[in-house]
Symmetry: C2
Subunit: 111 residues, 2 copies
């Protein structure tokens, strides 16, 4: 993507779903994973991702642990108990939205 706005609001459910599936991930890894899953279509920018990660950590949805990789510090994020609940809610909303989009793009013929 990266074209216009479009996927605004979808980042959070996408993130929570990824963390649920992968257990724990760090920021850079998340951007790579999303790019890979979407065949290069969706590039999450750092300016969007890191503020979101910080907000979700502050809200108790995510928890973070630092890890030393060589000389570097890597910050792993994972869902809290509350985060797992949030994930269910957010993803079901996104699925619902995806279906709604389909209704608009391919309306059922009414005859």
């Amino acid at each position: 993507m990266n074209k216009k706005v479009l996927y605004k609001g979808c980042l959070e459910p996408i993130l929570l779903k990824l963390l649920h599936e992968n257990g724990r991930m760090y920021g850079y890894e998340i951007t790579r994973k999303v790019k890979e899953l979407t065949a290069g279509e969706l590039n999450i920018t750092e300016g969007a991702l890191y503020p979101l990660l910080h907000r979700l950590e502050a809200d108790g949805v995510l928890e973070a642990e630092m890890e030393n990789i060589g000389n570097r510090v890597r910050k792993y994020y994972s869902l809290t108990q509350n985060g797992r609940k949030e994930k269910v809610k957010a993803v079901s909303e996104l699925e619902n939205f995806a279906q709604t989009l389909q209704l608009l793009l391919n309306p059922k013929p009414s005859f």
Copy 2:
């Protein structure tokens, strides 16, 4: 919808597609049509719709004509020639986005 943000950015392609299919429509009609097509899921608010209509008219994507219905004035919008081009572009971006969403929601198993 109306729940969170989510469909941000999708309004313009949806609108252009509707106008393409229906020839001409007025604001209130558009809000009803979207609600109908999405089984009540997506409610376009006036605060989102009217500014968008005005912007697209100013940009030469839409043209408007007033019509008197009883004592009331109704404003019909339709696509300009340029608008029809814009419609193709915007809708194909939205379709692409919908597919990208599917990739994230139902990733292809990699084995």
